[in-house]
């Protein structure tokens, strides 16, 4: 069975006029890490929210190979999804506290996470006292802290500075590969999608259909990979679909 199987999905919104986002859409996520690449407003976030069961489809079904889902979700605009009345620490460890984990183990897990990513955040401060990039880091770490088996990332690296982005992306890629976490990444940067995922899926305008999908095997975001002939050729092939 595929990792995630979407069958006959239909979803429309009633805005000023009826907007059909999906119409009898079928797709199978066969790889552990998939990146979704497509035009603005085509419905990528809607797809992620339907997979996460945050919104209901009008018709169709989403099945996964996972028996018990432990989900991590990094939403777009992270500042809207962290709780400003909680400290950064309270925000970060919320999933673990909800699972009833003891405080000592929580602290160990936080230390591990910071060591893995080689970063630090002011834990006793509040979210509004840190930068947008740090807020994004906080949200990424919160999504990872309870070791999810399904990780959904909606443009998770947009607010990060270039160096932090490379570092976080490489570490995140390493973690999800090591833990065999089923991961779906939405990205507007094709380089990001190619180095992070095992498969890149190109989507069309609404109503969504799959234009094509490519297997990739780059795994790391560094200059050597990105200057390689194979990388440049694959990128060229992918981008041709939007011409």
């Amino acid at each position: 069975m595929p990792e995630i199987e979407i069958q006959n999905l239909s979803k429309s919104y009633n805005l000023k006029e009826r907007v059909q986002v999906f119409k009898n859409f079928d797709f199978s996520f066969n790889e552990k890490i998939t990146a979704i690449f497509g035009p603005n407003g085509c419905g990528k976030t809607t797809l992620l929210k339907i997979i996460a069961n945050l919104i209901k489809a009008d018709e169709g079904s989403v099945k996964t190979s996972l028996e018990k889902i432990r989900m991590g979700f990094v939403f777009q605009s992270p500042s809207n999804f962290i709780f400003p009345w909680m400290t950064n620490y309270e925000n970060l460890v919320l999933p673990l506290r909800l699972d009833g984990i003891k405080e000592k183990q929580i602290r160990t897990r936080v230390r591990e996470l910071f060591e893995t990513f080689d970063i630090s955040l002011p834990m006793s401060a509040y979210p509004y006292q840190i930068s947008g990039g740090q807020q994004q880091l906080l949200v990424i770490l919160r999504a990872l802290i309870n070791k999810p088996n399904l990780l959904l990332l909606d443009e998770p690296f947009t607010s990060l500075d270039y160096l932090t982005k490379i570092k976080v992306m490489n570490e995140l890629s390493g973690i999800v590969r090591k833990n065999k976490t089923l991961t779906i990444l939405i990205s507007h940067t094709i380089d990001e999608a190619m180095v992070f995922a095992d498969e890149v899926v190109l989507l069309s305008e609404k109503p969504i259909r799959v234009l094509t999908k490519f297997k990739t095997n780059f795994k790391r975001y560094d200059l050597r990979v990105m200057k390689s002939k194979k990388f440049i050729e694959t990128k060229g092939k992918i981008l041709r679909f939007y011409k």
Binding site: A52, M71, F75, N80, F81, F83, L98, Q129
Partner: protein, 247 residues
């Protein structure tokens, strides 16, 4: 910018002085500032004829405000949380909130007489709607994105409510409380004037009947100070409780 705080009151006092000390307005209409302030000081610290009414006004004002706030937050949370409850009561809420609270004075008198209970019910009623409506909106609209996180993290309903929904509604609730506190003071004075209750409103009415204009102005200043202090107190509390607001 706080250094300019004195400027507004200074201009007001200056204009007041010009109008009265030059005789442009007769003292029977607007007494000189020093007479009003002397009357105020004398009423509070001299003869003390303002102390009793001040206490009575503050007591009924605060008690009614707290009662109206408590019920407003409680029912507001229920109506905001459940779309069914909200839609069931939407028409009634919109009907009653449009009614000026002083309109229910005759009804309150018919039911409870010219007693403290009538004043208490009218003021609580006036306060209730401001806080209720704000709480409903806070609970209903302050939580949209946060609920997505709750769904992802599978946060139990009670924890959702105490840790997420209620804190996210606090900025709206505080806006309602500040509005409600001012409205409660206005209605308190109005009700005391109508019911002839022995508070500051009643005293204003008595002073009007005996042409003691200076005392009327002294009470106006006193009520203004009361409103200013209470609003500052609530603003301070708001900054402490919802420290993230406006950041």
């Amino acid at each position: 910018m706080r250094k300019y705080l004195w400027l507004g009151p200074a201009i007001l006092l200056f204009l007041w002085s010009i109008l009265t000390y030059t005789g442009m307005i007769r003292p029977i209409l607007l007494p000189e500032p020093h007479k009003v302030f002397l009357s105020l000081i004398n009423g509070l610290f001299g003869k003390g004829e303002l102390l009793g009414p001040l206490f009575k006004t503050c007591w009924i004002w605060i008690l009614s405000f707290l009662t109206g706030s408590f019920i407003g937050v409680l029912l507001g949370v229920l109506a905001g949380y459940s779309d069914k409850v909200y839609s069931a009561f939407e028409v009634i809420i919109d009907f009653f909130r449009s009614l000026p609270s002083l309109l229910i004075v005759p009804i309150a008198i018919i039911f409870f007489g010219i007693e403290t209970l009538s004043a208490f019910i009218i003021i609580s009623w006036a306060t209730f709607f401001y806080i209720f409506i704000n709480t409903v909106y806070g609970v209903k609209y302050g939580r949209k994105n946060y609920l997505l996180v709750c769904k992802v993290l599978k946060i139990p309903k009670i924890t959702q409510f105490t840790k997420i929904i209620f804190p996210s509604a606090l900025p709206y609730i505080f806006a309602g409380l500040r509005l409600g506190l001012s409205v409660a003071l206005i209605v308190t004075i109005g009700v005391e004037m109508i019911l002839g209750r022995a508070g500051l409103g009643g005293l204003v009415f008595d002073s009007f009947m005996s042409y003691d204009v200076t005392l009327i102005y002294a009470i106006i200043v006193l009520v203004g100070i009361l409103g200013y202090i209470s609003n500052k107190f609530l603003m301070n509390l708001e900054h402490r409780v919802i420290h993230w607001q406006g950041e």
